[in-house]
């Protein structure tokens, strides 16, 4: 008996060891490409040019220009996230209600544009929205008033919604297809109408998907600098642009890193909310 137990322990140990060995490349990868760069951001962010510790780079967020850029970023990201949610939820429901063969095809169609480079798709929007762009040529042809949103916040929101919409649709879709149809049937059996079923059964069950969708849209929208550069004509300074210019134009890596740390705080805060909701969500689902 004892021997058998020993062998079992040995086996388990072996399994653990293999697991550790197999995860080594991943751990190494995370160390080199996640932890080390993060460490460098903190090192640069918390020192000045002579290498002495300072929090000036972080508190620089309080200056008028930086604070304005941050609030503008938060505002535009919130609006974009909300619009994404409004568009994505009905879409995810339509996708989820299709039968199996069709829906994998439609999901594919939906994801297909994401395989194209994000930069190219944003550049395409620039060409579409320009004063002499494709949309305005078509409008002009029908003698309709021209659409002048290029280089305005509206164009940036459009770019954000367009680029990040799939990140909202897919998590909601995933949580919708996980709902056992019997749960919905039971609700209907017990006399709930369509609206009640939706608000009392379906929506609460998809909250984890919604929350992770919000995170996946809000975070990239908050940190983008390409969309505001291409569709905002560089006239609208978001916090992402400020950081980018500190690195590429001004050559002040310390300030750029310090502002990145501030942005990280917002992102971590967002992720904590998401984690809390997701945990509850998992509990409800079981």
């Amino acid at each position: 008996m004892k021997d058998k137990k020993d062998i079992r322990v040995q086996k388990i140990m072996n399994k653990k060891l293999t697991g550790q060995l197999l995860s080594a490349p991943y751990l190494l990868w995370s160390l080199i490409f996640i932890l080390v760069p993060l460490g460098m951001v903190f090192y640069y962010g918390l020192t000045d040019k002579t290498g002495i510790f300072t929090i000036e780079n972080v508190t620089a967020i309080m200056s008028a220009e930086h604070a304005k850029a941050l609030w503008l970023s938060i505002g535009l990201s919130l609006v974009s996230t909300f619009i994404c949610f409004l568009l994505a939820y009905p879409l995810a429901m339509i996708l989820a209600n299709m039968n199996v063969n069709q829906h994998s095809f439609i999901v594919l169609i939906f994801i297909l544009p994401m395989w194209m480079n994000f930069l190219l798709r944003t550049l395409a929007w620039q060409t579409l929205l320009e004063k002499t762009g494709v949309i305005n040529i078509i409008l002009q042809f029908f003698h309709l008033p021209a659409l002048n949103i290029i280089n305005t916040p509206a164009a940036i929101i459009l770019g954000m919604v367009y680029n990040f919409l799939p990140f909202m649709v897919l998590p909601i879709y995933n949580s919708l297809v996980k709902i056992d149809p019997n749960v919905v049937n039971a609700a209907r059996d017990l006399g709930a109408n369509v609206i009640q079923t939706f608000f009392k059964i379906i929506f609460p069950l998809t909250v984890p998907g919604v929350i992770s969708g919000i995170t996946m849209v809000f975070v990239p929208a908050l940190t983008t600098f390409v969309i505001s550069k291409l569709l905002g004509g560089s006239k609208i300074l978001l916090i992402g642009n400020v950081i980018e210019e500190e690195f590429t134009q001004a050559g002040n890596w310390h300030l750029g890193s310090g502002l990145s740390i501030v942005l990280m705080v917002f992102i971590i805060f967002n992720m904590i909310i998401s984690a809390v909701f997701d945990k509850n969500g998992e509990g409800n689902m079981l």
């Binding site: 320009e130 006239k235 001004a250 050559g251 890596w253």
Partner: protein
């Protein structure tokens, strides 16, 4: 001062530099040519790629080619030494900054006979602004910064930077999205030097730029060219090298050097201090100074060449004597070349520019 790197070529650059990283680290021996290699770091689309092939064929030296979009992006990469570039092509003030930081090697002009033979004396003279003894740099391209306007949209004569503040052209003006170029316009309009470090003068220029902002359609770098060709805007601030190209594509466009004066810039070949292939680098520069090669490059990129022998070879009279490509600079006043102003002044410029951009 080359500004023609589109987002597309930015992507391509990313791929190329990834590929060149592999060839640098992966298999050094096999990748290089029979006579070694030379690592070149140039502006995007700033030479005829065919000349690289010709160089490789004639010398047996493999060219590893990499591109940058702005001087400011180039500098930290060279300073950090992450990739050991041999030859770089920065602009005037950035060459001065590289010299100040002891990052450049003195050239052995015995290995570059074509340089002294073919490049006009006035360009060597002008280079003394940033390279006082002509020891470090060989002029490659030069030009001015001016106003490109569309004759169908602008009916009055254009001769002053002040048209960029004219409300009649609201939402039809394109400004340069880089700090020194934007402030150059603001400073020159007020009659100040574009190398000013005077806080009050810079404050005035900043206020002018803020006042101008509601009229500006977009701040762009390389897209001025495409937007002007596409009739997207009426007036744009542009590098003279782009003007010939845009006029070929859209004959309604006209280029002027404003009467208040402007930036006369030079981009020059330099060799880094720690260049692993210094001799090959000098061979490369020598090759680029050969009249036929300089001509190929001029015809490809349309940026003015300081190579007098190459200019003689240009067949079309109107291009050889073009007032855009080869202006008679003595006609203009207020012409200057950018100088490196030191870290404190850089900081001041950047802070003021941020104020403009966030308004």
């Amino acid at each position: 001062m080359k500004k023609r790197l589109s987002m597309l070529s930015l992507l391509a650059t990313a791929c190329v530099s990834a590929a060149s990283m592999f060839s640098l680290t992966g298999c050094g021996g096999n990748a290089s040519g029979e006579n070694g290699e030379v690592i070149v770091y140039n502006w995007g689309e700033y030479l005829d790629p065919e000349t690289l092939e010709m160089f490789e064929e004639e010398t047996g030296i493999k060219v590893v080619y990499d591109e940058f979009e702005t001087n400011e992006i180039m500098f930290p990469k060279v300073e950090a030494g992450a990739t050991e570039y041999d030859v770089i092509c920065p602009s005037d003030y950035m060459i001065q900054k590289l010299i100040d930081n002891d990052l450049l090697a003195e050239l052995n002009f015995d290995n570059i006979p074509n340089a002294r033979a073919n490049i006009g004396s006035q360009y060597w003279e002008q280079s003394k602004e940033f390279d006082p003894e002509n020891k470090y740099s060989v002029p490659y391209c030069w030009g001015t910064v001016g106003i490109l306007y569309n004759k169908t949209m602008v009916n009055e004569p254009v001769d002053s930077w002040s048209i960029l503040w004219d409300e009649a052209y609201a939402d039809n003006i394109l400004m340069q999205d880089s700090v020194r170029d934007a402030f150059m316009v603001g400073l020159k309009l007020n009659g100040y030097s574009m190398n000013s470090t005077d806080a009050a003068e810079l404050e005035t220029a900043k206020n002018f730029l803020i006042e101008q902002k509601p009229l500006v359609q977009a701040y762009v770098v390389d897209q001025v060219r495409d937007k002007m060709i596409g009739n997207e805007a009426a007036i744009g601030v542009i590098y003279s090298g782009e003007a010939i190209y845009t006029q070929r594509e859209n004959p309604d466009l006209e280029y002027v050097i404003p009467k208040e004066g402007t930036n006369v810039w030079i981009d020059s070949w330099v060799v880094t201090k720690n260049a692993p292939n210094k001799e090959n680098a000098e061979k490369f520069i020598n090759f680029m100074c050969r009249p036929d090669i300089a001509l190929m490059n001029f015809e490809f990129i349309t940026y003015s060449t300081p190579n007098d022998a190459a200019r003689e070879l240009i067949e079309e009279d109107d291009i050889r004597n073009s007032p855009i490509a080869f202006p008679d600079l003595s006609q203009y006043s207020g012409l200057e070349t950018f100088r490196y102003l030191g870290e404190d002044a850089d900081q001041l410029y950047n802070d003021l520019w941020k104020e403009v951009k966030s308004k």
